[in-house]
């Protein structure tokens, strides 16, 4: 006993000597002993220093608040843990949800730390695929700590957190891309691979655009589940409002719902949403419509052809306008004014592509009209600039002619005067 006490005193002082740079939130018994033990742990198993960043510790909670035990019982292992009634040790996977929820689902408790924080995570969780499987007894699903981390839990806003926006895809793919692990569930494991190639993956992970969706933005956070097939458009419509609205009002929506087709997903895919191609409308090559409309000459083809031709012709006009403006620019003419209608035309092109989702011929034409007007302005401007260029060359030619004519006459006059003078002299 005395030896232990002596050891404790020595360790106490050593603790100060070996003090970490970070301030220890609350110097309690658990941390002090387990920090020592940490040194014998392997790299991947170390608690420190990450645990000192843990948001719970920073808010004044202690190990005991989750694991039980007595945090004041310095140097007394038994008093701290084994002999303590509240001590629960390692929390089992099945118990974890309830344990986390014991605080996180209590509005009155959480209110002390943040008035706006949500407290429905556990409730949502039980509706998710993970929760439903867990209820059935399958432990191979994600629980709180699988996504949020366990001892160094950081706020969602912290870029180091595994559930920070940009880290979500890789966190989910830890399981969902592991085909061995997921084998018994019978679902694909290529979602991350596909997502990574998609416009959303590129936007989020290559261009750091946090406006782009990660897994949770379409599947939900705690209530994560694949979207209901008849509501896919609503999900995508969270951001792609116009496309969604137009589609909802189109004649295709009820048909899709009735037949259980995946709405946006049917033409655009779900994880591998790539940049759409105008060839989606090209009946001969690349059409997505033929997935359903197998007939060759029906109304669908007429509409698709019409849309395709419209887009093609607008693109053609834009290309022509671009080439005129570029040519004039290369010749040194001032064309900055024409960049405005060019940009306008490009914007209308994007809007026209969106308007296709109405599957309404008149509407699409109406949207495309200002685009053609803008290209017309740009083309006329470009042509005028080129004409001005020619005018200048012509003007120079005529002026040079006049000057040369005058210079010649002057030269003859000079010679004439010289001759006259020399004759007068002689």
């Amino acid at each position: 006993m005395r030896n232990l006490q002596l050891l404790g005193v020595i360790l106490f002082f050593m603790g100060f000597l070996l003090a970490e740079q970070q301030p220890i939130p609350k110097e309690d018994a658990c941390i002090r002993c387990h920090k020592e033990m940490d040194e014998e742990q392997e790299e991947g198993q170390k608690l420190f220093p990450d645990i000192l960043n843990d948001i719970h510790l920073k808010r004044g909670l202690s190990c005991a608040d989750c694991h039980g035990g007595d945090p004041e019982a310095f140097d007394d292992e038994d008093k701290a843990m084994w002999d303590n009634e509240s001590f629960s040790g390692e929390v089992s996977r099945t118990d974890e949800i309830a344990m986390c929820g014991s605080c996180h689902s209590d509005p009155r408790f959480m209110r002390q730390y943040s008035t706006a924080i949500r407290t429905d995570q556990v409730k949502q969780y039980w509706t998710s695929k993970h929760g439903m499987e867990l209820k059935r007894g399958n432990k191979k699903v994600a629980i709180c700590t699988d996504c949020h981390g366990v001892h160094g839990i950081l706020s969602v806003e912290d870029p180091r957190s595994p559930v920070y926006d940009m880290n979500v895809p890789s966190t989910c793919s830890n399981c969902h891309s592991n085909s061995d692990y997921m084998a018994e569930f019978g679902i694909p494991t290529d979602q991350y691979y596909k997502y990574r190639k998609s416009v959303h993956g590129e936007a989020l992970l290559d261009n750091n655009d946090v406006g782009a969706p990660a897994c949770n933005d379409c599947h939900g956070n705690h209530g994560a589940i694949p979207p209901d097939v008849s509501h896919i458009s609503d999900i995508c419509g969270t951001c792609h409002v116009n496309n969604d609205q137009l589609f909802q009002e189109s004649h295709l929506k009820p048909i899709f719902v009735k037949r259980g087709f995946g709405q946006c997903e049917a033409c655009h895919g779900n994880h591998e949403v790539l940049k759409p191609n105008d060839d989606f409308l090209n009946w001969e090559h690349g059409s997505v419509c033929v997935q359903c409309h197998e007939d060759k000459g029906g109304e669908a083809k007429i509409m698709a052809d019409h849309f395709y031709t419209l887009l093609d012709s607008l693109k053609g006009q834009i290309a022509i306008a671009n080439s005129f403006v570029e040519k004039a620019d290369q010749k040194g003419m001032e064309v900055s004014d024409l960049l405005f209608p060019l940009e306008e035309a490009h914007k209308v092109l994007i809007q026209t592509r969106t308007s296709i989702h109405s599957f309404n011929k008149d509407y699409v034409e109406e949207i495309a009209k200002p685009g053609f007007e803008a290209t017309k302005t740009a083309i006329e401007g470009g042509k005028a600039a080129l004409a001005e260029f020619d005018f200048r060359r012509k003007g120079l030619f005529i002026s040079s002619l006049i000057i040369t004519f005058l210079a010649l006459a002057l030269y003859l006059k000079i010679k004439d005067i010289d001759r006259k003078q020399s004759k007068d002299k002689s």
């Binding site: 040194g332 200048r392 040079s400 000057i403 210079a407 002057l410 000079i414 010289d418």
Partner: protein
């Protein structure tokens, strides 16, 4: 002749006509160089006319300078032409002024009694460079902005007065809207006023003293020398030359237009390849080549002091060239001039190759 008579009774035009009839130009292998003064004058007049026209549309100021120049070249009819003529004519003007100065130098025309003509001419050259430096900033594009920054930085390294000079030039510590304002005033009011007075003096001196001839020709007896009357013979030849120069300017204006550039932005870093205008290049390149320290003196400082000393020597050459005073050609000064030209040309070309 009614108009002439009535004017003559009031302005004594007869006297001027009589005087003009006496004006003559020597005819020999070097006559061609006598055109250069007239060409410089013609280009100056072109600058004034095109400059005044530009003044009708140009608006100085950080928010409007660049835009007004763009307006001129894109929206105003023939605005492009006026602007191009002004830009090209400016460069040709400086070129011909330099050429004029060197031909006068080698003809020793600065010797007595024409020292004042040389002094006024040197001041005119200095003002012409001032015209160029101040005018270059006015379109307020990126290249002009940085060229001005570099140029005024160099002015700032002159000992003693450098800092004061820099602030005086820039209207502050940095190149800003204040600099633009100042340069505009300098370019359209101050220098034109001083230039006109000096030009008047320069031209009156030339009329009063007549055309000089090189020392070698002075040895030829009077009866064997050939002359042509200025009016109408040489004058008409002058006009012919000016017509040809005008055509050259027009050709350059159409085939080699100056770029509008990108609007100056205080916050942007300097674009690569910032260079001063060509007529400053030889000095700029020299300064770039001088090592950072020569003995105990800072390299740039040494360079600037050398230029100033060189300028002073060149300015006072009529007083320093003892031989020219007595109508002889000094080999020393001849070589001085030749080496100076070679140096300037070499440094200019080098500056562009780097």
């Amino acid at each position: 002749m009614g108009i002439y008579e009535s004017l003559n009774e009031r302005l004594y035009l007869d006297k001027i006509v009589e005087f003009s009839k006496k004006k003559k130009v020597p005819v020999f292998y070097g006559t061609i160089w006598y055109y250069l003064g007239g060409v410089s004058l013609f280009l100056f007049i072109t600058q004034v006319v095109s400059g005044v026209l530009l003044l009708l549309y140009y608006q100085p100021g950080v928010a409007t300078a660049f835009e007004s120049v763009r307006f001129i070249v894109s929206k105003v009819e023939f605005g492009w032409l006026i602007r191009e003529i002004h830009s090209w004519s400016a460069n040709l003007f400086i070129f011909f002024v330099f050429l004029h100065m060197f031909t006068v130098f080698f003809a020793k025309a600065y010797r007595k009694p024409r020292e004042l003509t040389w002094f006024s001419g040197m001041l005119l050259l200095f003002l012409a460079l001032g015209f160029g430096f101040s005018g270059y900033l006015l379109p307020w594009n990126e290249l002009a902005f940085f060229a001005t920054k570099v140029g005024s930085d160099i002015a700032g390294s002159i000992p003693v007065v450098g800092d004061f000079l820099l602030r005086l030039l820039r209207g502050g510590d940095e190149v800003s809207g204040a600099t633009l304002s100042r340069f505009f005033g300098i370019h359209v009011a101050i220098i034109p006023a001083v230039f006109t007075v000096l030009l008047g003096i320069h031209l009156v001196l030339v009329q009063v003293q007549g055309m000089s001839i090189p020392p070698e020709l002075e040895k030829v007896p009077e009866e064997d020398r050939r002359y042509m009357p200025f009016f109408p013979n040489f004058a008409l030849r002058d006009v012919l030359t000016w017509l040809i120069i005008l055509n050259v300017v027009a050709l350059l204006a159409v085939f080699f237009p100056w770029e509008l550039g990108v609007k100056a932005d205080f916050l942007a870093p300097a674009p690569p390849g910032v260079k001063p205008e060509w007529y400053f290049m030889f000095m700029y390149q020299t300064l770039r080549l001088i090592p950072a320290h020569v003995w105990f003196i800072e390299g740039e400082l040494l360079g600037i002091l050398t230029f100033m000393l060189g300028g002073l020597i060149w300015f006072f050459v009529p007083l320093l060239d003892k031989k020219a005073k007595v109508g002889e050609r000094s080999k020393f000064w001849n070589w001085f001039g030749i080496i100076l030209i070679i140096y300037m040309i070499t440094m200019t070309i080098w500056g562009y190759l780097v």
